[in-house]
Subunit: 438 residues, 2 copies
């Protein structure tokens, strides 16, 4: 595991983040924090509004959105923006998702108009993005009043302040980059729960100065999202607000579609795994490689079934190699998908140990001890004692290391493979979500 | 809620259970408890072996099993038993599920032979049933040695001792009955986790003396299971061992298929809800009524999506009416099923309050307070403080009451309706499952 990133302190992680965060040419970011009263519960709370601004509107932009049938109003507006000539800015707020809220559509449009007016863009050149509580109304007046502060504080050095500003239950900001000849791709993500399938409660903003046209960008984004944000799950819950936006200032060198796609796939995959690693309450990241599948649908379904099995998630959380549950999760998925199957052809590995072969478990007391050790080594942190209210809080706010629990499932029934990432299920997840809004 | 069953003490619940537990004519039950060394982990542990015995083998029997592709060897044997002329006994063990274990098929057959020999039946007249850890081998010698004790202690008064003996992580035994003219139906269930879909890690044994033929029984069981055990979920995980067995001694009066089916559906539905109420860590039972669906598949999928949403489960656990997550769970399911949908036609109620209508949330601060109160009233228990190891244990071992959190979802898109039951997600579930085998 020599090549695994290890951070011993929050400062080490911060230093690494700062190295990742130089903005490509042609972009600025700024944000504002303010308090308001959420009218549905008559409670004062805090919101952050962030702006990602291009020096000049660009026609080279792409975006993908949640497939939840009850998606937010920002999503409806964002989808329409794809048909316009150019994009000049993205405005993002946390705290309220603007989903199913009375007047939500008009609220999103008002914010875009106000941002456009402050920047000298048309409202149609501003893409809105909201994350947080579903069902509540955006505080349009308070947001509009905060825009000038965010515009005044726009800066072109680092994307890190924006990566911090868009966080909700995230413990730390997520930034990933690729530097290529003549330009770079720099992306940020927020997202920790309600992550699955087909994007996540996840907002991802990717900036580049590489010169590539709109159609090529949109193809590249689709490929990159499929192998990254669509291949992770924290809790099977699919957000109403997921958004991935990619935009180029085209200030750098031109690049081939293949080279751009490859670099973009890397950035997206690393951000996606960052999201899992920082998933609510995640102590272990699981990386599940499914091989020998008859098709991609089955391969991904088996991987997701494993990372989403509550019983297997709990076992991993407890460093308990209860591999029977892993086998159960494969079996239930095959049945649910009416899949071809022969347990005798299937093999399963946990770490470097084979645990299922020829239709039977391969377990013994020594292997059990090695697997317990393996799980402990892959643990990001142990739970601390709960607070006086019985709530668990993660004792660290940085990713201690980049290790995974590696699971390989060879279905022995084809040539298709895929990789899926997910997390375990812990007390911290329950504490986080039993009273998210207070 | 005047008609809701309420138990203030464990004794009250026990007294009620005893009233339910008289065995129909022609049945006896007995069990034995013994210790053995689980060879895969070299650790001594305890097993209970139970026998349900007919005075004479009966051709009137039915059974349904898990659909998990990696099912246990008892399931393979049980499926074959359906083709035989008659059933004389069921032998049940807890602790080890006999799934994917080397030599599992032979182990199941050996136990059946030994039980048959002790009772004077053929091995083919004995149906095996195992529940517990997946992947471990049954301790055949220790089980065989325990059979004489179970046979000596057979009694024909009460099914309650068997309902207790088959428990694993259940907090209390589950018994339900219907008395009809000339006979009765008495069923028991065990099951608390790995409950979903299409049966559960659930063993259900239903006895009757009502005189009904095999074909009619098998049709009745299929209908009853569909509306009960196939309509619940604790954690989406589908057991490798689920079994429902129904057998008649035919000592009572004959009964029409319709009357029998109706009573059997009642018994199965009550047992299914008992299983949810005693689900691992369940603080709230959710009863989700889906109406206005275009077909049964969509109706059930929407209901399951709600009871299985980790985020909504956590909110309910925290008495937090975060109805945005409820709406999210409907939306993600509609998308996953490529279902017809118009959010504007859909309405959602929590308790007696409408929370979503015409595509928008219907929330205000007063309604919020009423919903918090409603959730608190439906809570079975509050978490106590964790123990020194940070593990949570339920503070009661009986169902305090039979209240549900009622959710109604009218999709406004058809005439089909169904009801689904599930539980919330709590610290007790995590504690139970993070180290189940120790």
């Amino acid at each position: 595991m020599a090549d695994v990133m290890v951070f011993r302190t929050c400062d080490e992680h911060d230093a690494w983040l700062r190295e990742q965060s130089d903005l490509p040419a042609g972009f600025r970011v700024g944000s504002a924090t303010f308090r308001f009263v959420a009218e549905e519960v008559q409670r004062e709370t805090e919101m952050r509004l962030s702006l990602l601004v291009l020096d000049e509107p660009s026609e080279a932009f792409a975006a993908m959105f949640t497939q939840n049938a009850f998606c937010g109003d920002a999503i409806h507006v964002g989808r329409e923006r794809l048909a316009y000539d150019s994009l000049g800015a993205v405005v993002v707020n946390n705290k309220i998702a603007n989903v199913a809220a009375p007047g939500g559509r008009e609220a999103a449009e008002s914010i875009c108009s106000a941002v456009g007016a402050a920047l000298g863009f048309d409202a149609s050149q501003v893409l809105p993005s909201s994350t947080g509580v579903i069902g509540w109304c955006l505080p349009v007046n308070a947001m509009t009043a905060a825009i000038p502060h965010a515009v005044e504080h726009l800066q072109s050095q680092s994307i890190l302040p924006m990566a911090r500003a868009i966080m909700t239950t995230d413990l730390y900001p997520k930034v990933r980059r690729r530097d290529l000849e003549g330009g770079s791709i720099v992306g940020i993500a927020k997202g920790a729960g309600m992550v699955e399938p087909n994007l996540a409660t996840m907002l991802v903003f990717i900036t580049t100065d590489l010169d590539i046209d709109r159609d090529a960008m949109r193809r590249a984004l689709k490929r990159a999202v499929n192998g990254s944000f669509n291949a992770i799950s924290i809790d099977t819950d699919q957000s109403t607000s997921d958004t991935v936006v990619l935009v180029s200032s085209r200030r750098g060198a031109s690049i081939s579609e293949d080279a751009f796609t490859e670099a973009l796939c890397d950035v997206c995959r690393e951000l996606a795994v960052d999201v899992v690693r920082n998933g609510e309450g995640v102590h272990h990241v699981m990386r599940v490689r499914v091989e020998g599948a008859p098709d991609h649908t089955i391969a991904r379904a088996v991987g997701k079934s494993v990372v989403n099995s509550p019983l297997w998630q709990c076992a991993v959380a407890g460093n308990d190699p209860n591999v029977g549950r892993l086998i159960m999760a494969v079996g239930k998925c095959l049945e649910q998908n009416n899949a071809w199957f022969a347990p005798e052809a299937c093999s399963v590995w946990l770490g470097n140990e084979v645990v299922f072969e020829e239709g039977r478990s391969r377990l013994d007391a020594e292997k059990e001890k090695r697997l317990v050790r393996y799980l402990k080594e892959a643990e990001l942190y142990e739970s601390g004692a709960p607070d006086a209210q019985g709530m668990f809080h993660p004792p660290i706010n940085f990713p201690a290391h980049a290790r995974c629990v590696d699971i390989v499932i060879d279905l022995g029934g084809g040539n298709v493979a895929c990789t899926v990432w997910g997390g375990d299920r812990t007390h911290e997840y329950i504490s986080e979500n039993a009273d998210y809004r207070s």
